[in-house]
């Protein structure tokens, strides 16, 4: 049927996306990999003769406590966020898949935060943590809540937990929707049969619901893992990276996640080459996570 191996329409229909792909992804990606081995700066042009510096930018990362610190807290944040989001959203999904009067309204309400960008949500919660919470404390009779020294955003640990709260609030509705879709595919007879056999709610959850939604679980865990690891917007508007702290004898930003660390290194510290090398490390971690995810999925398919 086909005369040419690749008919004109093939190239015609592919041309626009190939163009965008090459201009926006391929060329900057290759340039970036190269720049991370040079003394590149913000003002350098593409044609400039950049000096190759070998692994100096990567060696610089190892000597930089702020990157190590960001890496550690990003891992901690990602794990906490993943666990919190998935537990909360699974709980919400269990609730709104029952025959409740207002279940469509509840679903919509839980989903709404997901429509608003992380940047805006971060500002809203900054106000809540800095103003509403102290005021609530005074109202409830906990005067210590109103003490500026006790503000949640004034300490590293609590500020990081505050980011988890905001992250959970933002993503729970979205992840809930995925769980709801999975739970609704479970045959009703299965649950009824278990009920007749006298299985407790907990038992039904463990033996029917959880195994039946395993596929959705891999999806939600991966989405929450990657999104938490890349968090930037909420970080900027909620804590701005602060408060400052000491790490390995150096002052650092106490809640600066990796994405923000890369941004600040490149643009605020005017060290584009260093920022780029950090971005390469960031990218490699994401590649490893994705490879693990794909192989876990493959294994599951075999089991099924």
């Amino acid at each position: 049927m086909r005369k040419a191996k690749h008919p004109a329409i093939f190239w015609l229909f592919l041309a626009p996306v190939l163009f965008a792909f090459v201009v926006v992804i391929v060329i900057p990606f290759v340039l970036g990999a190269y720049y991370s081995f040079t003394n590149w700066s913000a003002t350098a042009r593409v044609g400039d003769a950049l000096k190759l510096v070998g692994l100096a930018n990567y060696a610089g990362i190892l000597r930089d406590p702020s990157f190590t610190y960001s890496f550690i807290i990003t891992v901690v944040y990602t794990l906490l966020n993943m666990i919190a989001i998935n537990i909360v959203s699974f709980g919400l999904a269990m609730l709104v898949t029952q025959k409740l009067f207002g279940r469509n309204v509840y679903r919509a309400g839980f989903f709404v935060p997901n429509l608003i960008g992380g940047l805006i949500l971060g500002y809203v919660w900054q106000f809540i943590f800095d103003n509403a919470v102290p005021s609530l404390g005074t109202f409830l009779g906990f005067a210590s809540w109103a003490d500026p020294a006790n503000l949640l955003l004034a300490h590293n640990t609590t500020a990081l937990l505050a980011m988890v709260v905001v992250g959970t609030w933002q993503y729970a509705g979205y992840i809930m929707v995925i769980y709801v879709a999975a739970i609704e595919t479970i045959p009703q007879e299965l649950i009824e049969a278990a009920q007749i056999d006298g299985a407790s709610t907990f038992r039904r959850l463990r033996s029917i619901t959880l195994p039946m939604i395993r596929q959705a679980l891999t999806v939600t865990l991966f989405i929450t893992l990657v999104n938490s690891f890349k968090q930037f917007d909420v970080n900027v508007s909620l804590t701005g990276g602060g408060p400052s702290a000491m790490f390995l004898g150096q002052p650092i930003y106490g809640t600066q996640l990796l994405a923000m660390n890369i941004y600040n290194q490149g643009l605020k510290s005017d060290d584009m080459a260093g920022g780029q090398a950090r971005a390469v490390v960031f990218f490699l971690v994401l590649v490893i996570i994705s490879v693990i995810e794909v192989s876990v999925n493959k294994k599951k398919e075999v089991e099924l």
Partner: protein, 286 residues
């Protein structure tokens, strides 16, 4: 039996209402504090405002603020989001179609490269993208920084991988006989696609619109780098952050700006709720 079941649902119903109110509490905070004066906010951020009319004054202040340029920022956000979405839907679906229907090694190879590119985080290309876009302007005179063209091109580049992946999966399931019939009737390939296949892709169009729409409308980092703060082309998130940076801790006005940023989205959601939630699910399960 029925009565017992209803009784059993009382606890989850009440729990859901409590959680529902808890989830919407931050929105309540935004609304009530947008109608307060600065001293009123610091004294009682939780109470209802003494004078709701104050909200009009605050909205007027934001509307006329040079840092926000609400009308122009809103229009820019609409132009960028709508153009990117239309182009993403058209270009990705037609690309996915030829990739599915052409069974060659090259075709498979291109698809695999596109899919693999989904792993690439924005962070690894963002700095070189700036230098490279500046260079394109020097070489060709086409301005991509601080321009609609540049940011829309960037959104197509970053959104296409996932969109093509979604369209590809669905197109595969469309029987080829449908197209053959059209070809026999004398349809040119492009016509076959736009008349026969394109309309069949509706569920995936919905997914691509919703997933990318939420992302592009709310995105902060990419516009921050490509457009920059305080320029004539600003998106809503840029405008809000620009204002919050200039009026530090002036919460009455910052929260009003946030309210004005939220209202259009929430209204859109109320109208298109089913469409949006369905689109979200289809995209994530794939």
């Amino acid at each position: 039996m029925k009565k017992r079941r209803a009784a059993r649902l009382v606890v989850p119903e009440i729990l859901s209402i409590a959680l529902f109110l808890l989830f919407l509490f931050p929105f309540f905070i935004v609304v009530v504090n947008s109608a307060k004066a600065p001293f009123e906010i610091t004294q009682s951020p939780l109470s209802l405002p003494t004078d709701w009319m104050k909200i009009l004054l605050n909205v007027y202040t934001i509307w006329t603020s040079a840092n926000v340029q609400y009308a122009s920022s809103f229009m820019s956000s609409v132009i960028i989001t709508v153009s990117s979405l239309v182009l993403l839907n058209v270009l990705s679906s037609q690309a996915a179609w030829v990739l599915v229907r052409t069974r060659t090694r090259l075709s498979t190879g291109i698809f695999i490269v596109f899919v693999a590119a989904m792993v690439i985080p924005f962070q690894i290309v963002m700095f070189p993208l700036l230098t490279w876009f500046r260079e394109i302007a020097n070489l060709t005179g086409v301005r991509l920084l601080r321009s609609y063209a540049g940011i829309i091109l960037a959104y197509i580049g970053f959104g296409m991988s996932q969109s093509i992946f979604l369209f590809h999966g669905f197109t595969k399931s469309i029987p080829f006989e449908l197209e053959e019939a059209a070809t026999i009737d004398g349809c040119a390939p492009a016509q076959t696609f736009y008349r026969i296949i394109f309309p069949l892709l509706r569920p995936i169009h919905a997914t691509v619109l919703v997933l990318n729409g939420i992302w592009i409308w709310n995105d902060y980092l990419l516009p921050l780098l490509i457009l920059g703060k305080g320029n004539n082309v600003m998106t809503i998130p840029l405008a809000v952050s620009n204002f919050a940076g200039a009026y530090v801790k002036q919460w009455d006005l910052i929260l009003t700006a946030i309210l004005m940023a939220m209202v259009p989205i929430v209204i859109l959601f109320l109208f298109a709720q089913r469409f949006i939630i369905k689109g979200m699910i289809a995209g994530s399960i794939k």
